[in-house]
């Protein structure tokens, strides 16, 4: 329990810090251009890594060979490219995944 609370405390402090950075450091001077660069290009990097991380522990050597996660993930992406409705994409992908792991 104390581990969870400590983790929340750490995340609270770090998140608040990131939001306070402009008010603390750049109220009077220009921010370094590297910050603007990272703000634009770091999010795609983070998302690729988080998606990869979600798939890295699956056992692709044994049935069902990771098929539920791969197919449901593809459906999620397709739904989101098509309709761009966050809830529809997540619920659709999740429903297919839950169905596939019970069938395959």
């Amino acid at each position: 329990m104390s581990y969870f609370l400590l983790a929340v405390l750490v995340m609270t402090a770090v998140t608040y810090f990131t939001r306070a950075v402009p008010f603390l450091f750049f109220a009077k001077r220009q921010p370094p251009s590297l910050l603007g660069f990272l703000q634009k290009y770091l999010p795609p990097v983070v998302m690729v890594i988080l998606v990869f991380a979600s798939y890295k522990d699956i056992d692709y050597g044994a049935a069902p060979f990771g098929i539920p996660a791969l197919v449901a993930g593809a459906l999620t992406a397709l739904l989101h490219f098509w309709k761009r409705n966050v809830l529809l994409s997540i619920v659709g992908g999740m429903a297919l995944y839950m169905a596939l792991i019970r069938v395959l």
Partner: protein, 272 residues
């Protein structure tokens, strides 16, 4: 921060002006109401499905109030990640917030006692609202901003709490519910693919993933993010050189994308 959060409760007895402020702020925040309650619900369900205690969901919503970071934390807490690793990953994931405040330096200058809370509440969606909606003429802007931020957070807290309560009450087989997390990251990746057309960030991330998997699967996220950030910094000159003519073409006033966490156009669009 605790202090500033509880302070928001005081608005209920601060006088008559709030009767004007709250309805206006509520109308402005309706798109976020839809987005935050549903995603908060998904967060609470996922957290409980991952085997974490239900109360963690409302506690995180009250104190952290950062969607993507909270979702990422589920996996980290489940695997017992170290505090330093949690801190660094939160920093990298929320690093995009570090420039949000720039366009709000002016408006927040006169915010007085509300300023710490307004800064605390600068999520992607709150930032999007505060930079686009205007306070009604007879209303104090700071109070309007505070009301919008407070309402947004209340939606998030309600969603997260309801999700974890429903999740712990569910009696049917919830195996597979944790795929919501994977699906969310895929959704956010699709949003990024729409917003960032350069291929270097994706290649850098893919290379970093493969290296991290080979070198240190245990600290995968941290190693991968560090390597990818390094590659990206090396390629910076090249990317910006190509980005520049494109920016001039589009009128030179290209705003940086903030499509990190459930992007405001996405969630706002589905609601409005």
């Amino acid at each position: 921060m605790q202090d500033t959060h509880f302070r928001s409760g005081r608005k209920w007895h601060l006088g008559r002006e709030w009767h004007l402020v709250l309805p206006a702020a509520f109308r402005a925040s309706i798109p976020v109401l839809l987005g935050y309650t549903t995603l908060g619900l998904a967060f609470g369900l996922t957290l409980v499905a991952a085997g974490l205690p239900w109360w963690l969901s409302p506690v995180m919503a009250v104190f952290i109030f950062a969607g993507a970071a909270q979702f990422m934390a589920i996996g980290l807490l489940q695997s017992g990640a170290g505090l330093l690793e949690i801190a660094l990953l939160t920093l990298l994931l929320n690093g995009r917030h570090a420039v949000y405040g720039l366009s709000l330096l002016g408006p927040f200058r006169s915010a007085g006692k509300w300023k710490p809370y307004l800064i605390f509440g600068l999520t992607d969606e709150t930032y999007g609202l505060l930079t686009t909606v205007k306070a009604p003429p007879q209303v104090d802007q700071t109070k309007f901003f505070a009301a919008v931020t407070g309402l947004n957070q209340s939606y998030w807290v309600i969603g997260c709490t309801a999700g974890s309560l429903v999740g712990s009450a569910l009696t049917f087989d919830t195996t597979g519910l944790n795929f919501a997390l994977t699906a969310l990251f895929i959704v956010l990746l699709v949003e990024q693919i729409r917003a960032v057309k350069e291929w270097e960030p994706y290649l850098a991330a893919a290379i970093a993933c493969v290296i991290a998997l080979a070198v240190s699967p245990r600290n995968f996220l941290l190693v991968a993010l560090t390597i990818a950030t390094g590659i990206l910094a090396l390629l910076r000159g090249k990317i910006e050189q190509r980005d520049k003519p494109r920016r001039d073409e589009s009128g030179g006033a290209q705003e940086s994308t903030e499509a990190g966490w459930p992007d405001r156009r996405g969630s706002a669009g589905s609601g409005a």
